[in-house]
Symmetry: D2
Subunit: 214 residues, 4 copies
């Protein structure tokens, strides 16, 4: 089960959360935890030893692109994967396609977000390493998608499998504890995406321990 | 004289160029050199001891913004300044305004790019620490703006002074050697912006030494 | 006093509102009323005889730009002016600059929106025919800017005059009746921008008659 | 065979071309010709009696969206279809999804563009009325896609059929005469998208007659 913690642009210390996550890893479960900080913090997060992900990479080729973050730069900072097309960072279809390609060439795992089962078909067709379904209306709601709309998860799992049965599906929105993780797994998800539930917790390590206790 | 080297998304090793720049600094001139890498490389560049700049920061408040790079994150990685509104990373007027503010609050110097003297008036009115005039048609042309269009520099200097005489004006586009820097200074510029001239040079340190020899 | 009614993307019949506006015009006041519908409705609105404005035009040159609306196309449909940089349609500084130029070349009046007095300086420096200050937090609030924040209007008027005393300043946000228009005029505004107050009124003609009765 | 002529933002008289197209229609072939002008010209083009298409519609719900063109406004101007996601007007995956839905609700046919067979799978999964494959490197090249890269057309046809065999596939880029149309049909395309070949022709009616003579 893959637990991906998106630190967004929260006012938090990414290294502190990364160290909390690093302390939780190595348990007896099959859980895999990764932390996705803002890009200037990738190197510092990677130095803690935790699995480190980008929140976004551009799909442009190297060249005259001021202000872009390329997959190679993210890899050089120590990251091993990247989110793409998060609902707060929507890309055009063509950008998603190119970003998946440049991520692969750079040796970076890609996880593409989408809102609905038909969008999951669409992004799976572009050949990412994984996809995630996140109904935007549930993001930050505190209501786990596995409870509010369990069918969207099972439908997304079926939708991805129809295109490529080897592409794992994660789910996001409203996940906050180990029960939600277990429910997501029941529905066929191979991981969860969360953000404030860990990032804004008083004790992120405790929350992470609970999340992997499913 | 401020020499700002924008590494854009070039396939180069930012640390190598940063070390070259660090070796040039400390000379007898009044030159100040800064390196602006992609954001995942900010920390590694800052560790060389060279002055480190962002290529862009978002003006949003901390919060749920996946894929954004905030001024605070850039500062935490060791940077002390940031470009804004580069011709390859255009912002809305309102974003420029907010990004200048969030940069200031984070203790980050801001340098806002513009194409023409009237745009220089516009961006100077928003209160940045510095502005730069870069005619887009000359970027990467190899023809220094001080030669191709010297009046745009003197007009930009006059334009900024009309709004706030304390805001220094840099110029960019086509700068490649110490003579270009000297010419820019003659026209009233207090610095230059360059990119491929240093980043893609066989010997960046030699180019930088020439640039500061004006 | 210029009364510009922005129909946004409301579910309303633009021709019905245009006819209401046309019936109000020709009164004894100095009021000038214009209607800004979605671009496919420009021709139908212009046919009512009311002054017709675009909500936006692109600043690109004629050519391969699918989905853009150019100033020439807006003029050919019968419009005589256009909004630019509305808070719901933010443009980069460079786009504002180019759109003002292409509007002028096409014989289209331009009115550029901004949030604050310093942004009013910025947009006035680009040479539009008029500018408008609209604090975004008041848009659709029902509280007139002349009441909620009268200084932003007087400051905007002073800011524009500092750059070019011939550029009239309009104000927007929260305007709903003739008293608000009179208050805006007192503060130095030469017009008002409104939207739902007219567009969603049961009797738009009655609201417009009240607006011009100041 | 569907011939869709995209007038882009060319400096041409859309009504003149629409009249040329209207004069060609009604022949003995099964060809169907539509003209897609800039949105302010939709009503004037529709008045010629030719089938009229939008170049783009926004997928937002009616409301406070200044500068947007909604499907309902395009229908009210007399159009019956719309392009979406043209390579010059790229949309996010979520915008494509919503724009297809709002077009359908408004009774507007949707035709979604894509660059590659895998992107054709992606957009077909979102349920449009038709899709079009246009390799961007061939747009405006004068080399018909059916000659430069015939496999991309047959692959796109197969890709769409794999998702929904009822969704017709058009092809674009480099089409200029009846032979190109015939070649496209041979490859399985049910229509072609063209632009400058008709819009910038000395005699658009002659070109259109040739196009439908396949």
């Amino acid at each position: 089960m893959f637990i991906l913690v998106n630190l967004k642009a929260y006012s938090v210390d990414p290294v502190e959360i990364a160290e909390a996550a690093a302390s939780v890893e190595g348990g007896t479960t099959d859980a895999r935890i990764a932390i996705a900080p803002q890009s200037p913090a990738l190197a510092a997060v990677a130095e803690t030893g935790v699995e480190t992900w980008g929140q976004h990479v551009s799909g442009v080729e190297p060249g005259s692109h001021t202000g872009s973050t390329l997959a190679t730069a993210v890899v050089n900072a120590g990251a091993t994967g990247t989110l793409l097309n998060h609902s707060e960072c929507r890309l055009t279809l063509d950008e998603i396609d190119r970003a998946i390609d440049t991520a692969r060439q750079a040796g970076l795992e890609s996880l593409v977000c989408a809102n609905t089962p038909s969008q999951i078909v669409a992004v799976t067709a572009l050949g990412p390493d994984a996809v995630a379904v996140e109904p935007p209306e549930l993001i930050g709601s505190g209501i786990p998608v596995s409870q509010a709309d369990p069918e969207i998860v099972t439908d997304a799992v079926a939708a991805a499998a129809g295109v490529d049965p080897d592409v794992p599906v994660l789910c996001g929105a409203g996940i906050s504890d180990g029960e939600d993780v277990a429910a997501a797994r029941e529905l066929g998800a191979e991981g969860v995406l969360l953000a404030s539930g860990v990032a804004k917790a008083d004790d992120p390590a405790a929350v992470l321990r609970d999340l992997v206790s499913f």
